[in-house]
């Protein structure tokens, strides 16, 4: 996993659109403290923009009334949050113990070659982006690849080839 602490500053103010605004207000009632809204608010942002900017993190902290450092912490901890624009197909490969032992490196190497991308990069045409992430919680069916949030388990190079073929 790469260092995620360098956020992108867009220079433009961020705010929720009407639909997310309403959703935020609906969700906030569910929790005993407003801090609990950090993760859902990050999801809403990602849903709206596809990724999360520095401005969005400051906005969320303000909106919730908590410290920006806490939102920053959560956003950099979970690799499911995209901190820069992603390819249309965002591929994550787990690099933690089980997946490591069961051959995640072969998969990474194959993708590096095939797509011409290193983990953390996005292709010039915007079709693919690649990321190595920490344990995805599917260790029993390692190695695991996640494409746009969907799991593909017990992967090997052959399965990967057919998977890539289905992606546009």
């Amino acid at each position: 996993m790469s260092d995620r602490s360098k956020l992108i500053v867009t220079g433009k103010p961020f705010r929720f659109d009407q639909e997310r605004d309403a959703e935020f207000e609906r969700l906030v009632k569910r929790y005993p403290t407003r801090e609990s809204m950090i993760l859902p608010a990050l999801w809403l942002t990602q849903e709206q923009e596809g990724w999360i900017s520095a401005e969005a993190i400051a906005y969320i902290a303000d909106r919730i009334g908590t410290f920006a450092s806490q939102v920053f912490e959560c956003a950099t901890f979970y690799t499911m949050y995209n901190l820069h624009p992603m390819g249309r197909n965002h591929i994550c490969i787990c690099r933690t113990l089980s997946c490591w032992l069961r051959g995640k490196q072969e998969i990474v190497d194959y993708l590096k070659n095939e797509l011409g991308l290193k983990p953390g990069e996005i292709g010039a045409d915007g079709k693919f982006s690649l990321e190595e992430v920490e344990c995805l919680g599917h260790c029993g069916t390692a190695p695991v690849v996640q494409v746009n949030g969907e799991f593909h388990e017990s992967m090997d190079v052959d399965k990967l080839k057919s998977l890539l073929a289905t992606l546009k």
Partner: protein, 899 residues
């Protein structure tokens, strides 16, 4: 007493009260367990796994920091298996560590190094990726070497759990996890308080104090335990001394008040000690300027002139000002000097300009003018009522207790005209108009009585004068109170309910209560409220008057006061006069002397001839400066003893160098009545400490003071001041004692008035009070109210903090805080230059537009010599104790054309 339970540790029986973790039990029993992520100040974390212990019957070792001790457990803290596990953990940590102990700042003070040594960890058992991140020094106080970070999370947890500053958090995860500020920005006052709590807890060399780097490590320095010289909280810490210089301040984790926590001033405000601008020799006025003189010459001049003036004009034209900045012993000596060597009662101290109303007010209501409880009890409060105290800025370490209470679920009521940090987190913010304290509290009591929320039992058995109070507050119905205070009724009702209905409610107040025309009455009003609800005389209740300066309490206790001898023993009481007269070998005058403000009034009229000012700067910090300056100009002979040249030294005939708290032995008494030691860490800059100078002057004047060490002065105090009767340097060597401590075997008193009050009847007295308002109210020409106060980073006239490297860069200038609405209507933008005018003068300053100010109010501190805020403040004073009304005067603001 809690029931004790027993466990076996390493075959030994250990008894302890239920509710402790195994680690705590072991610590208490003196059994060592290695830890890296544990800090007593934090919630248990269980992250580093070094504190593993084996418990008979449990399949795997458990972390002792998170496992509660249970009866019958058989615990081993050392075994071959544990050693193996601990060694491996350490070796994993060392595999990504620079291991450059040779040049590391923390060498000698690093838990990782200590444990690696203890468990014989190898430096290269595991080979792997290593960090290679740059050192971060992008702020004035804290150096961060990320490569030395073991991600224990202590810094981030202390910043969030204890300080509640939210500056840093762990970002990233796994191998890349690291403490970082939001958006990885440099630490600045925008995101950090610079309290250095993170540095104090870091177990490695990852976080270190920047100013002390390269100036001496643990092995090279002498650590001198002492008490902070800034506010009245009374934090203890260690001065780190090398080659007769203070190179750093480090935490004393055993300190009763602060447990190792400090604020920016205490931890980083020490540079003034070795500042080049210190006064280093006595100075004698010559023409327009001063010339250097020897001690001998200066002191014989001082003694000679005082004696001559006393002879010519009589002792009543001569007096002295003492200082809450100085030690108890020095305050006592000055009180004694005026009474014995001069022969008058004209002695006062600077509490006159801050907490005299507390002394006078609470003494009338309760019998003694001091805070009723101890600070530590604050964390167990159910409802906190904060009035006129910006605690997080003015008393940062007290605020840590309040924060702890808040995180434990305490309800918070804040009465303050400004939307301060605590107001933002309050359940009820009573956004009162300045000067409406009495109306507000009467209104709250009105609501309490209407609803039957008072404590009838307490009122009946412990108080007198209730009927009169009841009749008076009857007049304060909410229609009227809303109008007088500007606070809406629902808030007043909610505040009344929260305060009266909680099991343990405490009132915390500061100078927002005392520095008013009705300061003394304001403090009595808080007492009324506490008494009506029976919220006094038990732990975590009562009234905590937060003392502004390190030794305000002690300065008042030890007699530099015109009407009372040391220990509040009245000069009008023949028995007291006789007692002191006998001990001191003089006749004490039976008429109270002049208060400091009155002495200055007399000076201005040309009626007062000679004055000795010890460690005070009235020409900067007193209100209505033009008047003060006129007074000082007129005086025949003025001696000022201070550590820095100040506005006041300009008027002196002789300037005597003072010694800072680091240069002398003595004691300070903090705001909770705790008498604590200060210790000489380096020699006095000019060779003599203030107490020695006083002794010499007195002796030269013909009244010998032959003390050779301050401890002898304290022994004398103990014989004359009953509350200090049991205090001696020996007893407070390790830990200060809270007075009253009448005898040598008395443990001191944490909670006052548990059985009776200190008034002759043993009952507390309700005081009948009416709203009066401020002495000066806004009108068409001066439409705004100026409130003065502190900012966290600076201290009083700033002579110390302005000489602290880093602090002055962070907060280089005064700013006037103004609300967005007022700013807009005056056409003022943030940081614009403006002119602030009052009936007495005007100053130029930049504006800070902030929602902290309510419309109609503006705020300034008086920390900067370049912006003398007190040119503006009014001459109104508390009607009873004479404390000036710093907290409210009328001003106008004009925009200055862009420069």
């Amino acid at each position: 007493m809690d029931e004790l339970i027993m466990v076996k540790i390493n075959g030994m029986d250990v008894h302890f009260p239920k509710g402790k973790t195994i680690l705590e039990v072991c610590k208490d029993a003196g059994i060592y367990i290695p830890t890296l992520c544990y800090d007593e100040r934090l919630k248990p974390h269980g992250g580093c796994r070094l504190c593993l212990v084996e418990i008979k019957g449990k399949p795997v070792p458990l972390t002792s920091c998170t496992t509660p001790g249970e009866a019958g457990m058989e615990i081993s803290t050392e075994s071959p298996k544990l050693t193996r596990l601990r060694k491996t953990i350490l070796e994993l940590l060392l595999s990504n560590h620079p291991n450059d102990c040779m040049v590391c700042e923390a060498s000698g003070d690093c838990s990782l190094r200590e444990m690696a040594y203890l468990y014989g960890a190898s430096l290269d058992r595991f080979q792997g990726e290593k960090w290679n991140l740059p050192i971060r020094e992008d702020n004035p106080f804290i150096t961060f070497e990320p490569n030395k970070c073991i991600a224990c999370g202590r810094c981030t947890r202390i910043c969030n759990e204890v300080v509640m500053a939210g500056t840093i958090d762990l970002v990233n995860r796994g191998f890349n996890a690291i403490p970082e500020t939001a958006f990885a920005k440099p630490r600045s006052l925008k995101n950090c308080e610079f309290c250095g709590q993170c540095v104090s807890t870091c177990p490695t060399g990852a976080l270190t104090d920047k100013k002390g780097r390269g100036k001496g490590r643990a092995g090279d320095i002498k650590k001198v335990k002492t008490t902070c010289t800034y506010c009245g909280t009374g934090c203890n810490f260690f001065l780190n001394v090398r080659n007769d210089r203070v190179v750093r301040v480090t935490s004393d984790f055993e300190a009763p008040v602060n447990k190792g926590n400090l604020c920016i001033k205490g931890r980083y405000g020490y540079d003034f000690i070795h500042s080049d601008e210190r006064i280093k020799t006595p100075l004698i006025r010559e023409g327009e300027g001063f010339r250097e003189a020897s001690w001998d010459e200066a002191l014989s001049l001082v003694a000679g002139r005082f004696n001559a003036i006393i002879k010519e004009h009589g002792p009543d034209k001569v007096g002295g000002f003492s200082s809450s900045r100085c030690s108890n012993e020095e305050n006592y000596l000055l009180a004694k000097w005026v009474r014995c060597a001069v022969g008058s009662n004209n002695v006062d101290n600077c509490a006159r300009v801050c907490h005299a109303p507390t002394v006078a007010g609470l003494a009338q209501s309760f019998g003694a003018g001091a805070a009723t409880n101890s600070l530590e009890q604050m964390s167990d409060i159910d409802t906190i009522f904060i009035i006129g105290s910006n605690t997080t800025e003015a008393h940062p370490i007290v605020s840590l207790y309040l924060k702890k209470a808040i995180s434990k679920g305490a309800k918070v009521v804040v009465a303050d005209p400004r939307k301060i940090w605590l107001a933002q987190r309050a359940d009820v913010w009573l956004n009162m108009k300045p000067g409406s304290n009495i109306a507000l509290i009467n209104g709250i009591i009105h609501v309490i009585l209407k609803n039957g929320w008072e404590s009838k039992e307490f009122i009946k058995t412990r108080t007198e004068g209730f009927a009169e109070l009841k009749a008076k507050v009857e007049e304060y119905d909410l229609d009227r109170v809303e109008k007088l205070t500007g606070v809406s009724r629902d808030k007043i009702i909610e505040a009344a309910r929260l305060y009266s209905q909680a099991e343990k409610s405490m009132i915390v107040y500061g100078l927002g209560i005392t520095e008013h025309l009705t300061g003394t009455e304001n403090s009595m009003a808080t007492a009324n409220l506490a008494l009506v609800c029976g919220q006094v005389g038990r732990p975590s209740t009562g009234i905590m008057a937060l003392r502004g300066q390190n030794n305000v309490q002690g300065a008042s206790d030890l007699g530099p006061l015109p009407a009372t001898l040391p220990g509040y023993q009245s000069v009008t009481d023949p028995k007291c006069r006789e007692k002191f007269g006998k001990a001191w070998g003089v006749t004490i005058k039976d008429k109270p002397g002049l208060k400091s403000v009155e002495m200055l009034d007399e000076c201005a009229k040309g009626n007062f001839k000679a004055l000795y000012i010890l460690g005070e700067d009235p020409a900067h910090t007193d209100p209505d400066l033009h008047h003060i300056r006129k007074a000082l100009d007129k005086i025949d002979f003025l001696v000022v003893q201070d550590i820095f040249p100040t506005e006041t030294t300009k008027y002196a005939h002789v300037i005597l160098p003072g010694a800072s708290f680091a240069e002398k032995d003595g004691t300070f008494t903090n705001g909770e009545r705790r008498v604590q030691r200060i210790r000489k860490a380096v020699g006095p800059v000019a060779g003599l400490a203030d107490w020695e100078v006083l002794c010499k002057v007195s002796t030269l004047m013909g009244y010998p003071m032959p003390y050779t060490h301050p401890s002898q002065i304290m022994d004398e105090i103990a014989t004359l001041v009953p509350a200090y009767g049991g205090i001696s340097y020996k007893r407070i060597e390790k830990k200060g004692i809270q007075w009253p401590c009448p005898t040598k075997d008395h443990p001191g008193t944490t909670t006052l008035y548990t059985e009776t009050f200190a008034r002759p009847s043993g009952l507390a007295l309700f005081m009948v009070l009416d709203h009066v308002g401020s002495g000066e109210v806004p009108d068409e020409t001066y439409p705004l109210v100026l409130i003065t106060g502190r900012v966290r980073e600076h201290y009083n006239n700033g002579s110390q903090t302005r000489h602290a490297v880093g602090i002055i860069d962070l907060v280089p200038e005064e700013l006037v805080e103004i609300s967005p609405e007022d700013a807009q209507s005056l056409g003022i933008k943030n940081l614009d230059w403006v002119k602030v005018l009052s009936r007495r003068g005007e100053i130029k300053v930049r504006a800070k537009v902030t929602k902290r100010s309510q419309t109609g109010n503006v705020f300034m501190s008086f920390h900067h010599q370049s912006t003398l805020t007190n040119v503006l403040t009014s001459g109104h004073r508390c009607r009873i104790s004479g404390t000036p009304e710093y907290k409210s005067c009328a001003v106008r603001i004009e925009q200055l054309s862009q420069e």
